[in-house]
């Protein structure tokens, strides 16, 4: 479990997060939604341990995040950042293998190789394994990096692992958007805690086990009862009007 207690973060005089407390459990797909500047990515980065000047406490599986070593932490969570430098001239399979860095250090084992191959297949980048990442399209690069973080979080040890995705569907076509979310669902089913910042409400509503709505650095709503999120609440948060319609028993928002 990732337990976040009363954290506040400010950049200069601007409060990005305001006394936020939340727990993320394993085996659950949590989607964090909210307008631009709500503090979604900052919350995710704080949970990852990257941000240093955080007031409040964050713990992983009971241990305070500050007492954990970087490589220890990297075995418990993987993070897909929005900022990915993909101009580097390195082969796809080598980039995905970087996800295993924390496990092998010098020479990847056969298991590492197998995990990497499986991750590449999962996101349909195995065909381009030998190509340079810099030559791929934005969406293809995104999928390569997804394969990398999946390889990092591959479940082989006992303690619970978390996958943190910051807007993972950026640049992806609709097929892969759904694929990412359904893969996340499967990972959650296998016991991994998946936390995903999204902008697409429809994707979130059709896949999430739990939805967190944020605005102005605060959590406005945190519920597992997704069906019951009201149109009014969404309108209040996003300041646009929605219609809720039922399409073949699935909830859609237009």
């Amino acid at each position: 479990m990732i337990s976040i207690q009363n954290i506040s973060i400010s950049f200069g005089n601007f409060n990005v997060l305001n006394d936020v407390s939340v727990d993320f459990k394993k085996g659950e797909l949590t989607c964090i939604l909210g307008p631009n500047g709500a503090g979604k990515s900052t919350l995710l980065k704080a949970a990852s341990g990257w941000l240093k000047s955080v007031n409040g406490s964050i713990s992983y599986n009971g241990g305070c995040i500050k007492s954990k070593k970087v490589n220890e932490l990297s075995k418990q969570r993987a993070f897909l950042s929005q900022k990915l430098n993909s101009s580097t001239d390195i082969r796809v399979e080598e980039l995905v293998m970087m996800g295993r860095y924390t496990y092998y250090k010098n020479h990847p084992s056969d298991l590492d190789q197998e995990i990497v191959n499986r991750a590449m297949m999962q996101f349909g980048v195995d065909k381009m394994a030998k190509r340079s990442v810099s030559m791929l399209s934005g969406g293809e690069q995104q999928r390569v990096h997804l394969a990398r973080v999946i390889a990092q979080i591959h479940n082989e040890e006992k303690y619970s692992k978390f996958l943190l995705l910051d807007e993972p569907v950026n640049n992806l076509d609709i097929k892969y958007q759904h694929m990412i979310l359904s893969q996340s669902q499967t990972l959650a089913f296998e016991g991994i805690g998946v936390i995903c910042v999204l902008h697409d409400l429809n994707l979130a509503f059709s896949y999430a086990d739990r939805i967190i709505l944020m605005k102005n650095g605060k959590i406005e709503l945190d519920t597992r009862d997704i069906e019951r999120i009201s149109k009014e609440k969404l309108e209040e948060i996003y300041e646009v009007s929605y219609d809720k319609i039922n399409l073949s028993q699935k909830l859609e928002l237009v």
């Binding site: 990257w50 970087v70 990297s74 580097t88 970087m98 860095y101 010098n106 340079s132």
Partner: protein, 352 residues
């Protein structure tokens, strides 16, 4: 062909080239009597393979005290400069980064010019130290610049690479202007000495010097050789490297310290030899891509090869006089770099 086999073949080819460069370097020089066959005979005699000493004592002397140390130093300097260049380019994620980015080489030139003008060769109580006083000054200058740069760019617990880069530009300018002032104050012979230093040369090579610089050049290079995976991860961004399990703050400090130490050691024995650290890693990238696991050691080998070839040229072109090696490396490296830029521009853009 499997990947490891390919790698072995690649390193084998580089080592073979290095051997050829060593042999070439052994066979030429302003003392023309010392040919390759004579060098070989001296080596064979020294290793006890033959008891026949069919060479003059002078040959022996030139070989062991002039040519041989020069080759060893060339290998160390070339290897260290090229590897440091590769590390800097990876760390700063900037293809234009070179080993003296934060002003280490310029700082060394400054202290050397100060030493030349103010007579550092009489400062020490021992003859030995006086003889090597300029090398000592250079190393001090390099370290001073490194410490100042790190103090400015280092915050509470992390170094900002952007700040380090900008600090480097400023320190380079300050150091260069002090050197300029020293040149202004210098007399003719002093000016020549300063100039010779700034253009770089392996001419001062001696066994004492090699022993003195070795720990500062070889140990950092040895440690850096294992940093391929770390640099690979840093190449996709500091943040992502952290998520993947790298203690970015510690690694950055480690990499900057080791490279500047190695470069400082090189500059203190050979002056500033330009372009090797910048160009060699790009040459390797051209052939093998941007995988730092391969790039670091390959760069070191190719750097050594190119320095040996350049040094041989510098000794022979206008023999018996010597051309500063920095002139040759920059004269060859510059046009090559322009070609590289033009080529990249062509292949990267569909629009052109």
């Amino acid at each position: 062909m499997s990947k490891t086999k390919k790698d072995i073949l690649w390193y084998g080819a580089l080592l073979l080239l290095l051997l050829l460069a060593i042999i070439t370097s052994m066979s030429f020089g302003s003392y023309e009597d010392l040919t390759l066959s004579k060098s070989m005979r001296i080596m064979a005699y020294d290793m006890g393979l033959t008891s026949k000493a069919d060479f003059l004592p002078l040959d022996y002397n030139v070989f062991f005290n002039i040519r041989f140390p020069r080759i060893v130093m060339g290998i160390i300097v070339g290897g260290a400069l090229a590897m440091s260049g590769a590390v800097m380019q990876g760390l700063f994620r900037n293809p234009l980064a070179d080993p003296s980015l934060i002003g280490v080489s310029t700082g060394a030139s400054t202290t050397v010019s100060l030493g030349i003008i103010f007579g550092a060769s009489t400062w020490f109580p021992y003859e030995f130290l006086n003889y090597y006083s300029l090398n000592f000054m250079a190393f001090v200058g390099a370290l001073t610049v490194m410490i100042i740069a790190l103090l400015i760019a280092g915050g509470k617990n992390t170094i900002s690479l952007d700040t380090l880069l900008l600090t480097g530009i400023a320190l380079n300018a300050i150091a260069a202007s002090i050197t300029g002032l020293m040149i202004f104050m210098s007399e003719e012979q002093q000016l020549r000495d300063i100039n010779f230093w700034m253009l770089g040369s392996l001419g001062g090579a001696s066994w004492e010097m090699i022993v003195g610089m070795m720990p500062f050049a070889i140990i950092p290079c040895f440690l850096l050789a294992f940093k391929g995976s770390v640099l690979n991860l840093i190449s996709i961004g500091e943040e992502n490297a952290y998520y993947s399990g790298i203690n970015v703050d510690r690694q950055k400090l480690f990499l900057v310290l080791l490279t500047t130490l190695a470069v400082g050691a090189c500059v203190s024995v050979s002056g500033s030899i330009g372009f090797v650290g910048l160009v060699v890693p790009h040459l390797i990238r051209l052939i093998k891509g941007n995988n730092y696991k391969l790039l670091l050691i390959s760069s070191a080998l190719l750097g050594a090869i190119l320095i040996l070839i350049s040094d041989t040229l510098s000794r022979t072109i206008i023999a018996p006089a010597e051309l500063p090696i920095g002139i040759i490396t920059s004269l060859c490296g510059g046009p090559f770099f322009i070609w590289l830029i033009a080529r990249q521009k062509k292949s990267k853009s569909i629009r052109s």
